[in-house]
């Protein structure tokens, strides 16, 4: 019996540049097959080929032994391939049902059969154990996590036949970084879901940077590098180091840089007392020069709100905030920046970069916007700055959108360093960043702390948080639930984070 899905010698190049060369891969029914590799290794391209977004230059795609060639996503769907994209493909102003069936609305007597759509959607939602969503809810009224669920339901709905509206004939499900937007307990929900799907005989291609998940979930792991197939191994027969080595092509040494020694930690650069706003309250916080403070917490616990409040993006409405001794009345990012606060946001593409502008213009944006009087660093100064963040690019004129996630993040950091901040806030510093760049960023962050900056890191990746932080503050329900010393373990953190089970409103 042939494998559920076989891709053989798939090659794809864009005007001469090869991004996939002779990649082969197969997927059994009921298996989770993990696909790992650094950004630009070709994962996304491979998936886009499978999804029918790109047509391969050569190679074959077989499903149940029958060969297919896709020229449009709808054909891939018709062939039973469902994709969960890293960026959601949801329409905020349409209902859940409309989104789920978009592109394959069931039609009865010439009209779209809304009832069928909504019934089927509701059914699938309950099957996935999701009760907070009704098919008629507007997507823009849903939390990110629930939008994720909608994405999955959407992927599960195959091309409906008029007879049996919404009859799912999805055989292959591709998940591209599905847990990226999720909080940890949501991740475990997702994993249960994945198991339930495989039990139904679906084959799942699972793309992720989080090796822990990969090892938890997958039966086999395939590693891509520079558009080539490196290896495919049964998960049971390998370990993290081997995989990482295959991905990076070198040893990654110790994962995290050494923490700050006590004498390196200075006095408070930023102090907050009794501060709060609609989302968070009672915040007492000191960020000390030279120290890396980690903020842990579930999605919706207020950790991001805290960062944005400190930065004045969603300012505190009560309490006091002093930076380097001078009180800062909460207002706009502009004021925060003036006071020497910088925020590396979670959503790099939408909030961190002007994607169609050059690296130079992005790096200089803050200084141009705020410190217009003092000449922004130009020429060598800028070059030096970019070297410092170990940016790898085709020159300062390259547009930001053509950089990899890691290098994009480095540009964002450079942008803030150019403004010479005292306090550096990171929200999910390494989201969607590949292993190599990840450690580079970690090292950089530590260096900055060592240079006397006060650093705050918000992250949903506990290993990162634990590895990087000199102390960890845990948030729950918009309050600081407690503080843990360096090297605290995940159980302590989760206990504080989930203190008093309030998962529902945490979502």
């Amino acid at each position: 019996m042939p494998a559920l899905l076989t891709m053989r010698n798939v090659s794809k190049s864009f005007l001469g540049v090869r991004v996939l060369s002779d990649v082969s891969l197969d997927l059994e029914a009921g298996e989770v097959h993990a696909l790992v590799g650094e950004n630009g290794a070709g994962k996304s391209t491979l998936m886009k080929v499978l999804a029918g977004e790109h047509t391969p230059d050569s190679g074959t795609i077989r499903i149940d032994g029958t060969e297919h060639s896709f020229s449009h996503p709808s054909q891939a769907q018709a062939a039973g391939i469902g994709i969960i994209h890293q960026e959601f493909a949801l329409l905020p102003h349409r209902t859940v049902a409309e989104n789920v069936f978009l592109g394959r609305e069931p039609v009865r007597r010439g009209r779209v059969d809304r009832r069928a759509m909504e019934e089927r959607t509701a059914q699938l939602l309950t099957e996935l154990g999701e009760h907070g969503i009704t098919p008629r809810t507007y997507v823009h009224d849903l939390s990110v996590a629930r939008q994720q669920t909608v994405e999955i339901v959407k992927a599960l709905v195959g091309r409906a036949s008029p007879k049996d509206p919404g009859a799912s004939d999805v055989r292959v499900l591709v998940m591209d970084e599905p847990t990226a937007p999720l909080a940890d307990h949501e991740v475990s929900l997702l994993h249960d879901l994945v198991h339930r799907l495989t039990d139904r005989g679906l084959g799942i291609l699972y793309i992720s940077h989080r090796l822990r998940e990969v090892f938890d979930l997958s039966r086999r792991i395939t590693v891509l590098k520079d558009g080539r197939h490196i290896t495919t191994v049964p998960t049971a027969e390998t370990d993290t180091d081997q995989v990482v080595r295959a991905m990076v092509g070198r040893e990654l040494g110790t994962y995290y840089p050494p923490r700050a020694r006590p004498e390196e930690i200075g006095d408070a650069a930023l102090t907050v007392r009794g501060a709060g706003n609609t989302r968070i309250n009672g915040i007492d916080l000191d960020l000390r020069a030279g120290e890396v403070t980690g903020i842990a917490g579930l999605q919706g616990s207020g950790r991001t709100s805290l960062a944005r409040a400190l930065f004045g993006a969603a300012p505190f409405t009560e309490g006091t905030m002093t930076v380097a001794g001078r009180t800062l009345r909460p207002g706009s990012p502009r004021q925060a920046i003036r006071a020497g606060i910088a925020l590396v946001t979670e959503d790099r593409k939408a909030e961190g970069l002007a994607l169609r502008q050059s690296i130079r213009d992005n790096a200089l944006l803050v200084t141009r916007a705020v410190h217009a009087r003092g000449r922004p660093p130009a020429g060598r100064a800028l070059t030096g700055l970019l070297e410092r963040v170990t940016l790898q690019s085709r020159g300062e004129d390259q547009q930001a959108r053509y950089l990899s996630g890691g290098n994009q993040q480095k540009v964002v950091i450079a942008k803030w360093l150019a403004a010479g901040p005292r306090v550096l806030l990171f929200d999910e510093p390494t989201r969607g960043v590949d292993v190599g760049a990840k450690s580079a960023i970690h090292t950089l962050v530590r260096e900055l702390a060592r240079d006397g900056l006060a650093v705050l890191i918000v992250s949903s990746e506990l290993p990162e948080l634990i590895g990087m932080s000199d102390r960890i503050l845990v948030m729950a329900d918009g309050r600081l639930a407690g503080e843990l010393p360096a090297g605290a373990d995940e159980e302590d953190i989760m206990r504080l984070a989930t203190g008093g089970d309030r998962r529902e409103d945490a979502v």
């Binding site: 999804a51 977004e53 449009h72 996503p73 709808s74 891939a76 769907q77 994709i83 994209h85 959601f88 493909a89 949801l90 329409l91 905020p92 102003h93 349409r94 409309e98 989104n99 978009l102 592109g103 394959r104 609305e105 039609v107 010439g110 009209r111 779209v112 809810t137 507007y138 823009h140 009224d141 849903l142 939390s143 990110v144 939008q147 959407k154 919706g300 991001t304 709100s305 944005r308 993006a313 969603a314 706009s332 990012p333 959503d347 939408a350």
Partner: protein
């Protein structure tokens, strides 16, 4: 000042807000506005010593809705899909000419088909230029407009053709106070409404307008959708041309441009709460917008307001209305 830009991506909203949004739905709002304007007009006119709800006046208001209404309904289709059509004005002119001339020589029905065929062709051209050549709709349709204009100027030197009395009845007959042409408008609007709400094409138009990339990833044939939207729009414009032909009794090259149907229709659509960027709104609102403009016009007439001053008021009304929608929109972080 920059708070809008800073509002965090997706603040969770309670479901009650969704209910509320039903009430603050622009489509409803604009009809309320229309009602308000009507009552206000009635009040003012009566104080001025006129009669607003006279049968004659109602007829006038309604029949003034038809031409703009048909165009605006079509415009709604393209705008919802995230596109735009600035060529409508010239298409109307050409449409009336073709209609009148074919009716003079041939049959009425033939003429109708001719005009619709012409419109469909123009719509197709617009759609293909926008999707195929990737020319921004603004420029593309502006260009086709120019092309049509040249065609008209080169082939016609004034009103031409002649519409038989039989067909003119479309423009002049009425049932009670309701001109039959209004039924044409209603029919077209209804057809488009059904199409938008209850067919795949409709759903895909909303999707394409809302987020073309997402729609495409979801397997929507976005290009095809945009092209069809343009065709639909042009067909509505064709209907408008037919109506005008029947009303004017002949083809009038500048029937569309002198009335500025291109910009007026867009104004009406937006007044009706359809978002210019696409993806949200609908026919119902547009009709409301058209009604508001028509009633305003009538009130101006009753008070014989200086024609130049009318434009000032219209401009203010349009801006004010959209500003209102913007406030509503922001309140629910839509």
């Amino acid at each position: 000042m920059t708070d809008t830009a800073l509002a965090p991506p997706q603040p969770p909203v309670k479901h009650s807000a969704v209910r509320a949004s039903r009430l603050t739905d622009p489509a409803v709002g604009v009809w309320l506005a229309a009602l308000a304007v009507t009552l206000l007009g009635w009040l003012v006119v009566t104080l001025d010593g006129g009669t607003f709800f006279s049968r004659a006046n109602i007829v006038v208001i309604l029949s003034n809705c038809v031409a703009l209404g048909l165009v605006a309904v079509g415009q709604t289709a393209v705008i919802l899909t995230g596109s735009l059509d600035l060529s409508v004005a010239y298409l109307i002119g050409l449409g009336t000419l073709v209609a009148a001339e074919t009716m003079e020589s041939g049959s009425v029905f033939g003429a109708i088909l001719m005009v619709l065929a012409l419109s469909a062709a123009v719509g197709l051209a617009n759609g293909l230029v926008v999707t195929g050549l990737k020319v921004n709709a603004f420029i593309a349709t502006l260009g086709t407009g120019f092309i049509l204009r040249g065609w008209i100027e080169d082939n016609y030197t004034g009103p031409a053709g002649k519409v038989p009395a039989s067909f003119q009845r479309l423009g002049y007959d009425r049932i009670g106070p309701v001109p039959v042409s209004v039924f044409l408008l209603v029919a077209v609007a209804l057809a488009l409404w059904v199409l938008l709400k209850h067919t795949r094409l409709g759903h895909h138009m909303y999707a394409t307008g809302g987020d073309e990339h997402a729609a495409r990833l979801s397997g929507v044939r976005t290009r095809r959708t945009v092209v069809l939207a343009h065709v639909l729009c042009s067909l509505c414009v064709g209907a408008a041309a037919l109506f005008l032909a029947s009303r004017l009794g002949a083809g009038a090259p500048w029937a569309g441009t002198e009335a500025r149907y291109d910009l007026e229709s867009i104004a009406a659509v937006v007044l009706g709460g359809t978002v210019l960027a696409g993806g949200r709104g609908g026919v119902a609102g547009t009709l409301g917008g058209v009604l508001v403009l028509a009633v305003l016009d009538s009130v101006f007439n009753q008070l014989s307001v200086d024609p130049f001053f009318k434009n000032v008021v219209r401009g203010v009304v349009i801006i004010a209305a959209v500003a209102l929608y913007a406030r509503r929109g922001s309140r629910r972080s839509a």
